[in-house]
Symmetry: D2
Subunit: 128 residues, 4 copies
């Protein structure tokens, strides 16, 4: 199971199987899963809370930090995959569609890097 | 590009291409991306903030809500995919490993559903 | 030190004293404190993650849950108070100003309760 | 209404009055408010998402950024004040109690600043 040989559907199935084997579907409702995604996202942040942007880059080279952060990202994605599984969303399609619209909003030759970008809030981002 | 035919690597590549074409790699550092994942996660929650758990299930049947939520989940996953891409994490492997350990922590015959679960904080969850 | 006899300035001073005694002002910068507020906010949510809205009301009657939640809210407010202290914001004035503008946006006779409210996202809220 | 002359109770009352005048108490339940606090906390972060720690300090000197951030912090505190009001928590007491315990956990002469601090996750923080 590596990123190259794993389809998004494979991951969705693995998560769905785990959840339903425990009869947890009733808890994995949109409101609860939205909270869960956010809670796990905060746990990623905890690792970088008091570090500068540069120190955080260094911290990721530490094997222990790296493994812990990997776990938190897995948690965020597991809950995302459960959300899209429970609600019948094809998330590859959602991501493709979002990137496509962002292509239009941030044309490559107009926006590249910090100084050229008009909007502070949009720099580096795919906000809508 | 559907979940069945899309590999996780395909999504990582699509995101990496989008980011580097805009020279945004310098902003997509661990500390910033951790914030970004959390910000987008909060935007999923906004849709369910004042709804009961049941109302949130209903809300997802509304086409407009559904499309907006899809977009927010795409955003969370785009930032996760950028994070794992930037830091060289194989996230399919991370997810598989996390689910495997959770199998051990929440054995199927002992834990199924609400009343049987020992720990309130762990019900429905894959917390560590 | 009760809510009736404590001024907001008293709380700001207590937090500022704690932080500076440990030479932590250098870490209590806007970006870091914004993350900290969000991390602690997620810890409040953890207590209600898998509960219905009604069950969460009941959970708060449990002495242990109540004391833990109290602690998490204190943490959120401590970081907010440090933020406004570090950046010279008079937060009582900010709150008064925000409530005043919300009075204009949500007039009492037009908006009361669920069904009368025009905007889903604004129900029960003071969003801008 | 300045921090020096405003008691925490004054703020709680102002928020409670605003909420009950709109018949919003039914929405201001613990689970919903926990989400709301977290959503508003994310809106503070948005302003600093792509900035370095140092740039974020500078950004707060910009009048427009400053006023927007002030508003987001007011929102976080409004929801915290509603939470403690709805559930009968004396938050000044909670904050005092939390700071007192933190005094014990982070003794001044042992822990001051970055290098002396034992725990990465606890540096600059009041985590429990």
């Amino acid at each position: 199971m590596s990123d190259k040989t794993t389809s998004v559907e494979d991951l969705k199935s693995a998560v769905a199987k785990f959840v339903s084997a425990r009869d947890w579907d009733r808890y994995h409702s949109p409101k609860n899963l939205a909270m869960s995604i956010s809670i796990e996202a905060a746990e990623i942040m905890e690792h970088f809370q008091w570090l500068t942007v540069e120190e955080a880059v260094e911290a990721m080279k530490d094997e222990k930090v790296r493994r812990e952060v990997e776990d938190e990202i897995a948690d965020v994605m597991i809950y995302c995959l459960s959300f899209v599984g429970q609600t019948g969303i094809d998330v590859s399609e959602s991501i493709r569609s979002k990137l496509e619209r962002n292509e239009g909003r941030f044309p490559v030759n107009r926006i590249s890097g910090y100084s050229v970008d008009g909007g502070e809030g949009e720099k580096g981002g795919n906000r809508e």
